[in-house]
């Protein structure tokens, strides 16, 4: 192994790290997850199976992963950033070849005992890789064209693979979190303007390549009443469920839209709707407030961190989390087209939960090692 003291002079012991670990943040995540458990318990008409119990186990497992990840030295994460990215990329590519379909899209990989969604791993890997890359560039170097080639490839190779699956939601998330890291790293404004224009120009091309169901989602988003029993059904029923919840909701386990199955996918993508129906405006706003605290904490971690890798990584985790929350809630409220994005910590789903807790582990690692200063030059590190 390598000697960490070579870089910092003063090293933290495991006890120090456990002391530095922000347990309050883990408690916050637990509270949010508990709202999810409650909803999953309600979906099953007051049963812990099939969903709530499994989700709890996953959360506990995820919390364990988070602690372990947080305790690992940040510089080690920096070292494994590229190898991890490579592994993730291979897995994503493997899905196209040997993956199997679930819910109409080819996203799953069967590893014998468990089934995983490699695109979830890629979401974390891409943050690590980009943070690692930008850590080594000065502000001036960031905006040089030749230095953009590598990070753009880092983003668009996996995005291309994910789009093929097809998994539009993940592709958008990967792209957006990558772009945000470019932005935070200090890429000159002109590139964003240029990029914006390029995207506008590309829309017709992208539109032409979309699957019918994806186009329909856009159509129905624009006019949900167009086909109330067909494609617009999800959005319409979701809005009815939310709206009928009113201020305090219909009461726990008393949501008619959810329990009579008018609401689709209510244990996964539409769980926020169910929460809004049963617990009302107050319940929904409470969850959003908890999410805001998570975001504020992660921002403060990024601001406090004294190394660029940590800052970018913390911001990346934060922004990915934000987009999950925003896209999911905006979708169920009818502000965005229906895209398959789960509500973090609340929606039922194993891989999403575990990869999210892994990401929070990285965030916490940044927090614990916030005072660590890491040389920019790779040679000094490598």
């Amino acid at each position: 192994m390598f000697d960490l003291r070579r870089f910092t002079g003063r090293e933290m012991r495991i006890g120090d790290k456990l002391f530095e670990f922000n347990w309050g943040f883990l408690l916050l995540l637990t509270v949010i997850s508990c709202m999810g458990f409650a909803m999953l318990y309600s979906v099953a008409d007051g049963n812990f199976s099939p969903w709530a119990w499994k989700q709890m186990v996953r959360f506990v497992l995820g919390a364990g992963i988070m602690v372990v990840v947080a305790l690992i030295d940040l510089r080690l994460w920096m070292r494994v950033a590229y190898p991890m990215y490579a592994v993730a990329l291979v897995l994503v590519a493997a899905v196209d070849v040997v993956g199997f379909k679930g819910m109409g899209a080819q996203r799953w990989l069967n590893l014998g005992i468990i089934q995983i969604q490699p695109s979830e791993i890629m979401k974390v890997a891409i943050l690590l890789a980009l943070s690692r890359y930008f850590h080594g560039l000065t502000l001036d170097e960031v905006s040089r064209v030749k230095n953009l080639i590598v990070p753009l490839l880092l983003i668009f190779v996996p995005v291309g693979l994910v789009v093929k699956q097809p998994d539009l939601g993940t592709a958008i998330l990967l792209t957006v979190s990558g772009v945000v890291l470019f932005f935070a790293a200090g890429l000159a404004w002109r590139y964003f303007i240029l990029g914006g224009v390029a995207v506008l120009a590309a829309i017709p091309v992208i539109w032409g390549r979309l699957h019918d169901y994806q186009r329909n989602r856009v159509f129905t988003f624009l006019d949900p009443e167009r086909d109330p029993l067909g494609a617009g059904y999800h959005i319409l029923q979701s809005k009815i469920a939310l709206g009928s919840g009113g201020v305090f909701g219909k009461g726990f386990m008393a949501g008619t839209q959810a329990h009579l199955n008018f609401l689709p996918e209510k244990q996964t993508d539409f769980i926020f709707t169910m929460l809004g129906e049963e617990l009302g405006f107050v319940g929904g706003l409470t969850l959003l407030a908890f999410y805001s605290v998570v975001l504020i904490f992660s921002f403060s971690v990024a601001m406090q961190c004294r190394n660029q890798f940590g800052r970018l990584l913390a911001l990346g985790v934060s922004i990915t989390f934000f987009f999950y929350v925003f896209i999911n809630t905006a979708m169920v409220m009818g502000l965005l087209p229906v895209v398959g994005v789960p509500l973090p910590l609340v929606s039922y789903g194993g891989t999403a939960m575990l990869s999210l807790m892994f990401a929070f582990g990285l965030l916490m690692s940044v927090y614990i090692h916030r005072n660590l200063e890491i040389a920019r030059s790779p040679s000094a590190f490598w």
């Binding site: 000065t138 932005f183 790293a185 009815i240 709206g243 009579l260 706003l285 922004i319 409220m333």
Partner: protein
């Protein structure tokens, strides 16, 4: 510490851009909260309503159809339990296969199958559709046992219309049947009942006329359904209101008796209360079985009914048109009296009457001798009435005939009344373009020629002759929905009671004086005697050659060429209460065929009127027995 000189600027940029991102996220959260406020607080009423509409389904419950009873409360139409099988499409994986299995228990014809498929196509998939009705108890039990094998088929008990006196009342009560497609299209949202599978509506007779009242008010069951339309639980149930009870003026005892008496014939009879106009019996034979109409008729059964020469589908009592024959001589007599002909005016009958170079014959070839009005009526002498008809002219006859109710309809409660014809100068010019001939006055005077009347009209005529000159009209309903219908006061007619007495006396002679044409068919019970008038309406032309060689007797002719036999009467003679008309199509002669039947029926009417003191009090609340 290894501080990069440029890290500071990197950090500054990072911090600045963090602020931008943080601001963006804050805005995004405000937007989300705003949207939630909009949906959950501003628009919550609207969405709550939509959620309720989603959740709550209203299912109609067919109300019990109202009963129809006679004046004494005898049930003429009611409902009975009907064991049936219904099919719910969404619970059936393969409808054809399920029907195949079902047909092993209950036969399903290809015709039934087509109808089932049509019903299934036009109802929602969760709505039960009737696939087999009127199962026997054995079939129903088998269905219950085999239910697990017949996915989506459910045993069910419904209500079906039942007519205990099917044949006797087919033409009055009518029948119910399934809603036809065009009635379905015409139905507005006010009548959602029509869309209930298996719902029956009145198709003819009283069932049709009082359909709305008999139907009742639909109940509704509010059920909570899930997204697939399956019922989770019943929230509330409104059983609806059963249909109104309709009480008819008929006396089923008389109706039954009259039908039995006339069942071999193609005949009709109407018995009326001469003061109130209440119809006690309204017979048209032969009839059909309305229970079969309710269940749906096969093509063969239908063809049999249509091709039967006795026309069982026609309600002859109000739609059968017959020349009134000699029964009309009562009208000619009234017209003669009003035109100043003295009742003692005498005409000599030698069997024929010459007008110009045309000879008019009396039914009695050898003649009646000297005839005054009384004897003219009693013997039904044609020559006497040729003479007075010629004296008074067609206009006087027409006026009287119309005053006594011929040539018009009475808005009877059942549809199909025919007005018939009372000819006049204007009528003939309008119809044929040719002017009135005096010969036509003569034959109108004996009830032949253009004259056409229905048995109902003849009963009305007899009533008005008997009741002292009141323009009574026939009615068939006493009460609807527990309320007695008002009995309209019959207006006094412009007729001299003395004239009526003279004609009544003539009719008394017909029945009760030896030599009267219906003397053989008199009532011998003291105080129950009837007074009548026979009629034999000729339906063929008798040639000169036939007259020379002797007119053929009716029983030597084929059925459709024989004379119609008619009889009108009222009773009791001393204080008349009832009037009747009776027509036997091609029955031969009024005296030979119609009068004996009428006598039997009238006697029964009188006997029952003595035995039956109390009429049925209509009820508001009718529970089914």
């Amino acid at each position: 510490m290894q501080v990069d000189g440029r890290d500071n600027s990197r950090y500054k940029t990072f911090t600045r851009r963090m602020m931008v991102l943080g601001g963006g996220q804050a805005v995004a959260f405000v937007v989300l909260a705003g949207r939630m406020y909009y949906l959950q607080i501003l628009k919550t009423d609207e969405y709550q309503m939509l959620a309720e509409e989603n959740r709550i389904n209203v299912r109609l419950l067919a109300p019990l159809r109202g009963r129809i009873v006679d004046r004494y409360g005898t049930v003429l139409a009611s409902n009975r339990q009907n064991y049936r099988a219904v099919l719910v499409a969404e619970q059936t994986p393969d409808i054809a296969d399920t029907l195949g299995k079902l047909s092993r228990i209950v036969p399903i014809t290809p015709f039934d199958r087509k109808k089932i498929m049509r019903d299934l196509a036009r109802s929602p998939r969760f709505m039960p559709v009737t696939v087999a009705e009127d199962l026997t108890w054995d079939q129903f039990a088998q269905l219950n046992i085999n239910e697990p094998d017949l996915a989506g088929v459910q045993p069910d008990v419904g209500e079906t219309r039942q007519y205990p006196y099917a044949m006797e009342l087919a033409h009055v009560v009518g029948y119910v049947g399934p809603v036809a497609d065009k009635e379905m299209d015409a139905a507005d949202d006010e009548q959602p009942l029509l869309k209930l599978p298996g719902f029956r509506i009145g198709k003819s007779g009283i069932e049709k006329t009082y359909d709305m009242q008999l139907r009742g008010t639909a109940g509704a069951s509010h059920v909570e359904v899930n997204a697939y339309g399956r019922v989770i639980r019943e929230l509330s149930k409104d059983p609806g209101k059963p249909g109104d009870e309709v009480v008819l003026t008929l006396d089923m005892g008389i109706q039954q008796f009259a039908c039995d008496r006339l069942k071999e014939e193609s005949a009709s009879a109407v018995v009326m209360d001469i003061h109130s106009g209440e119809v006690l019996s309204f017979v048209s034979t032969p009839a059909f079985d309305p229970n079969e109409f309710n269940m749906g008729l096969s093509q063969d059964q239908w063809n049999m009914l249509v091709q039967n020469p006795y026309k069982p589908l026609t309600n002859k009592a109000l739609a059968g048109l017959y020349p009134p024959g000699s029964t009309f001589k009562t009208m000619t007599a009234i017209a003669a009296l009003e035109s100043g002909v003295d009742p003692s005016h005498t005409v000599h009958c030698n069997g024929k009457y010459a007008l110009g170079n045309h000879l008019f014959h009396c039914w009695r070839k050898e003649g009646h001798g000297s005839m005054d009005m009384h004897n003219g009526l009693k013997n039904s002498c044609d020559v006497y009435f040729y003479d007075v008809a010629k004296r008074i002219g067609i206009d006087a006859i027409e006026k009287v005939a119309k005053r006594f109710g011929l040539g018009e309809t009475y808005n009877l409660e059942i549809p199909g009344e025919k007005a018939g014809i009372v000819p006049s100068r204007e009528w003939k010019r309008a119809v044929t373009g040719i002017g009135w001939q005096q010969g036509e006055t003569l034959i109108t005077g004996i009830g032949q020629g253009f004259l056409l009347t229905t048995p109902l009209q003849l009963a009305v005529m007899a009533s008005r002759l008997a009741n002292g000159g009141y323009a009574v009209k026939p009615r068939l309903t006493r009460a609807v929905g527990g309320e007695l219908l008002p009995v309209p006061q019959a207006p006094k007619m412009d007729v001299d009671p003395e004239h009526l007495k003279i004609v009544q006396g003539g009719m008394n002679g017909v029945s009760n004086e030896p030599g009267g044409t219906a003397y053989k068919s008199r009532i011998t019970e003291v105080g129950m005697e009837l007074a009548g008038k026979t009629g034999s309406a000729q339906v063929r032309r008798i040639s000169m050659a036939e007259r020379d060689s002797g007119v053929r007797k009716n029983d030597t002719l084929e059925w459709r060429l024989r004379d119609h036999a008619l009889f009108i009467c009222f009773a009791p003679v001393a204080e008349p209460r009832f009037a009747m008309s009776l027509v036997i199509e091609h029955g031969g002669s009024g005296a030979g065929a119609a009068a004996p039947a009428a006598r039997d029926i009238m006697l029964e009417v009188e006997k029952r009127s003595l035995a039956r003191p109390q009429a049925y009090m209509p009820r508001h609340d009718v529970e089914e027995g």
